[in-house]
Symmetry: D2
Subunit: 335 residues, 4 copies
Amino acid sequence: MIRVAIIGASGYTGAESIRIVFRHQEAELTYLTALPEECGPAEEVFPQFRGRCDLPIEPLDLNKLSESADVALCCLPHKVSMGFVPKLLDAGVKVIDFSADYRLKDVDVYEKFYQKHTDTANLAKAAYGLPELFRDEIKSTDLVANPGCFPTGAMLAIAPLLKEGLIEPDSIIVSSVTGSSGAGKNPSNVFHFPNMNENLFPYGIGVHRHMPEMEQIAGAVAGTNVQVLFQPHVGPFDRGILSSVYGRPKAGAKDEQFDELYREFYKNEPFVQICKGSPALKDVAGTNYAHVYPRLIKGHVAAFSAIDNLVKGASGQAIQNMNVLFGVDEMMGLK
Amino acid sequence: MIRVAIIGASGYTGAESIRIVFRHQEAELTYLTALPEECGPAEEVFPQFRGRCDLPIEPLDLNKLSESADVALCCLPHKVSMGFVPKLLDAGVKVIDFSADYRLKDVDVYEKFYQKHTDTANLAKAAYGLPELFRDEIKSTDLVANPGCFPTGAMLAIAPLLKEGLIEPDSIIVSSVTGSSGAGKNPSNVFHFPNMNENLFPYGIGVHRHMPEMEQIAGAVAGTNVQVLFQPHVGPFDRGILSSVYGRPKAGAKDEQFDELYREFYKNEPFVQICKGSPALKDVAGTNYAHVYPRLIKGHVAAFSAIDNLVKGASGQAIQNMNVLFGVDEMMGLK
Amino acid sequence: MIRVAIIGASGYTGAESIRIVFRHQEAELTYLTALPEECGPAEEVFPQFRGRCDLPIEPLDLNKLSESADVALCCLPHKVSMGFVPKLLDAGVKVIDFSADYRLKDVDVYEKFYQKHTDTANLAKAAYGLPELFRDEIKSTDLVANPGCFPTGAMLAIAPLLKEGLIEPDSIIVSSVTGSSGAGKNPSNVFHFPNMNENLFPYGIGVHRHMPEMEQIAGAVAGTNVQVLFQPHVGPFDRGILSSVYGRPKAGAKDEQFDELYREFYKNEPFVQICKGSPALKDVAGTNYAHVYPRLIKGHVAAFSAIDNLVKGASGQAIQNMNVLFGVDEMMGLK
Amino acid sequence: MIRVAIIGASGYTGAESIRIVFRHQEAELTYLTALPEECGPAEEVFPQFRGRCDLPIEPLDLNKLSESADVALCCLPHKVSMGFVPKLLDAGVKVIDFSADYRLKDVDVYEKFYQKHTDTANLAKAAYGLPELFRDEIKSTDLVANPGCFPTGAMLAIAPLLKEGLIEPDSIIVSSVTGSSGAGKNPSNVFHFPNMNENLFPYGIGVHRHMPEMEQIAGAVAGTNVQVLFQPHVGPFDRGILSSVYGRPKAGAKDEQFDELYREFYKNEPFVQICKGSPALKDVAGTNYAHVYPRLIKGHVAAFSAIDNLVKGASGQAIQNMNVLFGVDEMMGLK
């Protein structure tokens, strides 16, 4: 059994990770931690676990972590996480980190969007945890940077085109709509129900932090510099990201070839399904699946993907990465 | 033209009052006030009024109020309101107060649920602003206590039965579901979109402040002491209160007589409509109408009503009261 | 491994049953059937199963059923089901029937609300599949009548009071709000999104079919005749039933005793959790749990329960019944 | 008083038109018609008008139309409308037609997307009813083709850039999300509440009928051929269209100039508001306003607009057109 600790268990990705480990036949929860003010019996912190989880959520004790766990899912926020990850690794556990702190290989880019990076040594060793594109790197590391939810959806939508050089690398526009769970659990004016309900709007216009992450991944897949305009929107639903990716095709790209190209590219990837028409958020809600549909229309590429932001965009992908790290069936707990 | 000031204009009932006065042919907004930190151009405080309202929201100045307004809609919170209402009255305007501070005639009851009452003199003079039941008192006052949203819906549902003595006065159960706008504009954990969306639950079990208000009104209509068990629930939608009121009929009450009884009771009340079947929240959303449907089933009374909590349950009712106070067509601005 | 067939697999309860069996370690789906016009690969009938289910949905063939399955979950509609159940039993499988056809022991009552009963022999043998109340009967039968979603929620909310004689048997009012998935998959005017969204209303006023089912169960638990007024409402969300049950307490009932009484009554029932405050739909969504909270307030009983109508109210309860029938851990697949 | 008839009054745009005319000080509803099977008292066809509208909805009688109305709002479907519009004009009323039948000046384009056009004579005379761009044409006609909801939002978002030649005419991508009221009132599988709720997806990929309408308008504004890729999506809310329009700027375009350019372009247009940040659907819900926000980011134009699809995208725009036709204040009924 893989013994799983969750660091920062009191948020939405913590709860979702707990839910998935419950169903995993070869993993068990052994240790849940959070800030002192958010501790308590898990079934009181999360009423949905009433009667289902007898672990407490406790303040982090590195000795206890060391004794009780093989892997830590680190669900701490950006900038906070890199203060803890070195200690978790020193405690002898593998780490799957949900924050942005180990995703951007270029320290300058990280520091432009966040702050000074305090753990560049581990940053250099971290693997980017999108198994469909970087499985080999993940297998041979102790530290996985779990991808952002938006980059996961967008990159799965166009990776085959990037790989085959069928899309102009300076033309890519990612226009996404996310549900509100991406906002995390802290109440705010924007996500106050009477404000968010029956509403939809773009945000972070021109400035979103996921832009460089997308460009790094797209560049790695394409083997060349890629420019991405990323525009997120938020809508009145809980879960899911629908990404509509637009771009200019390279000369010679043909609509008819897309379906086969994608099926070939993803033929060994159980969690990526090529649709025959529009992907829809409800079809992937609660699952680790990505539904993808590419088309070439009127001289534009239009490729769509649907994922659950809390599963394939966060906790499910972390468990998938855990399965890769420990050599168990990659679908375990995620079927 | 009736010159209207809104005191505490920065909340949901303030915005809704602004929206309604816009459409009122014989009233005009002249003065909007709020706490200093919530002031600014109305179209910046409320983006929905961009280009539609050139008034600023300013800190309250009683001299300015005195010069600019004939009536103040006082949208301040419970316990805060009674600190301002005497000053508003002294400034020479009529006052329609949205808080609970002037609703409960029995000071002891008020003080049990809220705090010490500091304006009992005006409390004694205030009229309870449910025009369908207390129009005459409203006409002859300078201070109207605008009713709570739950009592409005529940009392309209059973007033004819109370009046006719067809329901046992100790048997009444009001089971209501409200939308989330009733929570006001301040973000909270409960009304955080990912918590409230796709959710529904009872709250305030056994302790709701609207209970004594209902008992006071029901008692006044019935001419006897009435006991009410009031149980509110909140659901994942913006507007509306659906009240399902249950009780034991007095001997001799007949299902067949209810429809005619209600039609007769409300025959001069344009805002109360007797339905031929289930009232539905969406049919009254955005309007000042109450849809009502009473039945006698298997030895129980079951009477239903649907209102918009922000309109008939707050701002619309306030404008209706204003129309009564100033002797203009009661439907003006509310058609 | 328990081999599971689903008869009528193309609806919402069929899909939910498929989803649950996927996770069950000692059960496997072997056969899915539907009306000819609703057949096809499961992953095309249900896009959410794309890549996850390689079974087809086929027209029913009793020989194939006999060879491939140990148990049939029969998800057919009321009145249709009793035409198939005898054949399923004859094919040698145990049957868990989702319809109302085998729930009402009194044929006259069934025939009053539905039509002439054509399989009274099996009706007499069927067990009512609410394991928390009738586990022993379920263990020794081949035919389980899976309960209605409303009776499940309402009866779990008050069974301890009925059993202990703490509630007047002629005073019970069940006021419930269900999500829209209870309507099934066929489009209708009422459930058209622009009509149902932001709406909430009572329905079936005075005439709901679940009333006699509740009275039968309540009477069996109480050991006396029980009268129930059942009033359903529907709200703008997918899943869940919140039941608010009101009644008059017997003399001597005390609020303080309720918590302990419920904990004792349900002490061996993992799926029933006694809350310390309001049960909420979102806490049970997607789970087989019932959250229950009873209070005695102002001379009334007010007992609340929250369940997921598709899980504890349908497919999850069916799997729980299957686990009882086959003697495996009752929580398997449902944790 | 302008006497208003509504032809095809039984659908959503009919109801919305009724709601707006109620508030119009210089217009009155005189005649409501629909197909015979959808006729009846307006307050029964639309429960939200209970007690508010004493007109019946009747089968169309051209003599009665001729006598009772000055203008007909023709809310019939595409392809049906052109069979009626000539008769309405012959009856001596001005016509504002909601369908696509008189929008596309190029008959071949119309016939490619719809069917053979049977009223090309009136087509040639019709004005395209987007007053902000074509007010002069509207003033001098008897037949206004009320624009599609998607073209209205998208064109208002980029008209100033098209006019000034600041966007490459072959680069325009319109990525829009609409609420479900755009689907009309007929129930369907897609808009069945349990399917549409918590869902969002693209549709009509590559084939949407609004594409040529956008290209015609954009071309007229730009004075050159324009190519548009239009991709609609639908989300789980009632009202509103958020359009995110992307394109390549012409050399020399500067982000800093956009705000002033737009303010100048729309300086006399009360219904178009230039935002200082993200437009949001909830800010325009129920109003005739368009909120617009243009930016130049990383070498792309990204211009956003929010409108209410039933108001500025349909019935409100029709009343605005009516006000232009009859020379009354363009904001009347729409403030």
